[in-house]
């Protein structure tokens, strides 16, 4: 009983205090809210340490067992340990850490994101091959119009047919796309609100046994 009641009581009271602190800017509610959020960040940081140790354990186990993916695991373990030691030694603002961040991590992230452009394009081409219906045709037509309409003015002047395409692309972005995104966001916001309220009222208890 204690295992269920205590976590639920803590979750509900903390949630209520943070919510009230957000809505009612009357002292000391905002201060309590700030403290509780700080504590949540601390707990999140400890979760990071747990996750990091688990990552090392999984990949060390894979290295020990051998087989497929051994080289990936070796790189993961080496990079995780080396960077950890370097940042511990020099601090996160140290020269080596910053060089790794700017010279390796950031370009790597950019490369992966650039890859998503290619995979998205391939997915779009595959869509028309696999599913030939009105939805797919419309999807690809809009993608094509948006891509062409995004060509910079310096490359192709916005005249004639190009001007029409740019106008259509702009209208698609400002009207149906924005309307759709707002509708989607509204529904999601309601879902988030109700999911949060269920946790706040203790109707669902993801933190304990239910």
């Amino acid at each position: 009983m204690f295992k269920r009641i205590l976590p639920t009581a803590v979750a509900i009271s903390a949630g209520l205090l943070v919510l009230l602190g957000a809505f009612i800017p009357v002292d000391p509610l905002p201060q309590i809210r700030a403290v509780l959020i700080d504590w949540a960040m601390f707990v999140g940081a400890f979760a990071f340490i747990l996750a990091y140790l688990q990552l090392l354990r999984v990949h060390l186990t894979r290295l020990r067992r051998g087989g497929k993916g051994k080289s990936t695991s070796l790189w993961v373990v080496l990079s995780a340990l080396v960077v950890f030691v370097l940042v511990l030694w020099q601090g996160p603002a140290g020269a080596v850490g910053q060089t790794l961040l700017r010279g390796l991590l950031a370009p790597g992230q950019s490369a992966l994101l650039a890859l998503t452009a290619v995979t998205l394009l391939l997915s779009g081409m595959r869509l028309f091959k696999v599913r030939r219906n009105l939805g797919s045709v419309l999807f690809l037509a809009v993608v094509l119009v948006m891509l062409i309409g995004s060509i910079p003015l310096a490359i192709v002047p916005y005249q004639g047919a190009m001007g029409t395409v740019v106008g259509v692309a702009d209208w698609l972005q400002r009207v149906p796309a924005l309307a759709g995104m707002r509708g989607l966001a509204l529904g999601v916001a309601l879902g988030i609100l109700l999911t949060g309220l269920r946790v706040l009222f203790g109707m669902t208890r993801p933190h304990s046994d239910d």
Binding site: P25, F48, A51, T72, L113, T119, L197
Partner: protein, 257 residues
């Protein structure tokens, strides 16, 4: 300026209070029998079938939960994804065919690990739980998606389930699913995440936006989840009515700017 400082939080508080009261009333009213609404979620009903198939074929189920941190704005999205998979966790523990669960956030990893472990504990088999089956892959979304995609190529996968807070990085996963085969289901709340999923999945395999928050109702069949969906519908119509009235008043010139 001063009015705005009070007005917006008051409106938000008002909506929250209305939702809270509606949830309480509808929850109490439908405690005995869950209310059913005109919504069909074949994707969530298919999850137990996937576990059965995995048990028969010896294939792996790969669940990717995205990078939604429990300390961030995607917390409820990640929680909704986990709730949708509740029945899958219980069945997988019963068959002892646990899925490989990958996350892109440490706090989500801790929660997913706890849920999977508790599924085994509920069955009285806590010692059979293998911690390596819930993994935190990487802290950044693109790296996480790339790492999860490499798992598909290394381990192969019977079914890939992509449910949670995804943006365009999910296209790396969808590409891996296409190249390595296997079944897939997915859902996201962000348009950036939905676009790649739309190109891969049939309508009955895809969950769009707020429907992700309906998974808990189908998975658990508990009245509180159905009541929550009912309140969502009620609030949506309330907001739609408010928007239509505001637009009408604006057209008629009522109420100033």
């Amino acid at each position: 300026m001063t009015t705005d400082l009070w007005l917006r939080p008051l409106i938000a508080l008002g909506i929250t209070l209305v939702a809270a009261v509606a949830l309480t009333v509808i929850g109490i009213r439908h405690r005995q029998a869950p209310p059913r609404y005109l919504r069909d979620f074949p994707i969530f009903r298919s999850l137990p079938g996937e576990v059965g198939r995995a048990a028969e074929e010896g294939a792996l189920i790969h669940v990717t939960l995205g990078s939604g941190a429990l300390t961030g704005e995607d917390a409820m999205t990640s929680l909704a994804a986990l709730e949708s998979l509740h029945a899958l966790f219980d069945l997988a523990a019963a068959y002892d065919t646990p899925p490989l669960i990958t996350t892109g956030d440490p706090t989500l990893y801790v929660l997913a690990d706890d849920w999977m472990r508790r599924a085994y504990t509920r069955l009285g088999n806590p010692e059979r739980y293998r911690p390596a089956l819930v993994q935190f892959m990487a802290a950044t979304p693109a790296t996480y998606a790339a790492m999860a995609a490499t798992y598909l190529s290394e381990k192969g996968s019977g079914t890939t389930m992509m449910l949670g807070a995804f943006d365009q990085e999910v296209s790396l996963l969808t590409d891996a699913v296409i190249r390595h085969g296997g079944r897939a289901i997915g859902g996201a709340v962000s348009p950036l995440g939905l676009a790649p999923l739309f190109t891969l999945l049939e309508p009955q395999q895809l969950v769009l936006g707020e429907d992700l928050f309906a998974g808990g109702a189908e998975a658990t069949q508990r009245s509180v989840f159905w009541a929550s969906l009912g309140v969502q519908d009620f609030l949506r119509w309330l907001l739609v009515a408010g928007m239509v009235l505001t637009a009408l008043f604006s057209v008629l010139g009522v109420g100033g700017h």
